[in-house]
């Protein structure tokens, strides 16, 4: 998938999710929280399948023509990040729908891990770019 396809797909799922979220929070609809999150489940499934197929092609051929700059380890981290996001969403939906007394700390743990590692990764990328220039 080219960047434009991935960007438009991400934009579309985000827009759908925000529309559902606004309708639910304004009490225009009374759907289950798991249904409100459908666009995000779709996004996660597509990301995980896309990355898994890419990893299989990479392992089979020894290289990836579409993402030559991405190592196998990096793709592994991307799948882990998608899984962490999915776990966070499941915990959030469970808390909102069925377990209102469940502590919010436990719900947020996957998100905090994901955000902390992503921030560290981005900082490393920033330093590497600065050293190159």
């Amino acid at each position: 998938m080219a960047v434009i396809h991935r960007a438009l797909f991400t934009w579309f799922t985000t827009l759908d999710f925000l529309i559902f979220l606004v309708l639910k929070l304004d009490t225009k609809i009374s759907w289950n929280w798991f249904l409100i999150f459908i666009p995000l489940w779709l996004f996660d499934v597509v990301v995980i399948v896309y990355l898994t197929v890419n990893m299989i092609i990479h392992c089979k051929n020894g290289y990836d023509r579409n993402h030559s700059d991405l190592s196998l380890r990096r793709k592994g981290w991307f799948i882990t990040a998608a899984s962490l996001k999915m776990i966070f969403q499941v915990l959030l939906c469970l808390r909102l729908q069925y377990l209102p007394s469940f502590p919010l700390y436990f719900v947020m743990i996957p998100f905090w891990i994901l955000a902390t590692v992503s921030a560290g990764d981005m900082f490393r990328g920033l330093v590497a770019t600065h050293r190159r220039s």
Binding site: I4, M108, W112, T116
Partner: protein, 134 residues
């Protein structure tokens, strides 16, 4: 996850530093918001939102610096266009945070759709930027 940092920079027309600032501020805000929600911290929502507002302030400062440097080194048209687009995104994000903070602190009776309004406008800009990515 789905994009590399370079792809995100190309799509969102934001620098890696700006993206990094957003991630850090959201992380700090989420920690403070959870502590407030679980009644560990007894602070007002305006204090909880400080990391997000600080991020906007830093990004605005960064935007002005880039504008001045581009104006001195490249040309006024490119500098002004970049400043306008970055400024618009920043203003929309700031407006969303401001409305959300006012709603949470109970200062204004706004519906969620009103609070999310700036975010929907921003999403349209992001869509145009996605179409121009190649």
């Amino acid at each position: 996850m789905f994009f590399t940092l370079q792809e995100l920079v190309r799509w969102l027309r934001m620098t890696a530093f700006e993206l990094w600032l957003h991630v850090i501020s959201v992380l700090a805000f989420s920690v403070l918001a959870v502590l407030k929600y679980e009644a560990v911290l007894n602070l007002s929502w305006w204090v909880i939102f400080i990391p997000l507002f600080a991020c906007d302030g830093l990004n605005a400062y960064f935007c002005v610096i880039v504008f001045i440097r581009e104006y001195m080194q490249v040309d006024i048209k490119a500098a002004f266009l970049r400043f306008l687009m970055s400024g618009l995104s920043l203003v929309l994000l700031f407006l969303f945070k401001l409305l959300l903070c006012q709603r949470l602190s109970g200062q204004r009776e706004t519906s969620v759709s009103e609070v999310m309004g700036p975010l929907f406008v921003l999403l349209q800009i992001v869509m145009v930027r996605a179409c121009r990515t190649h």
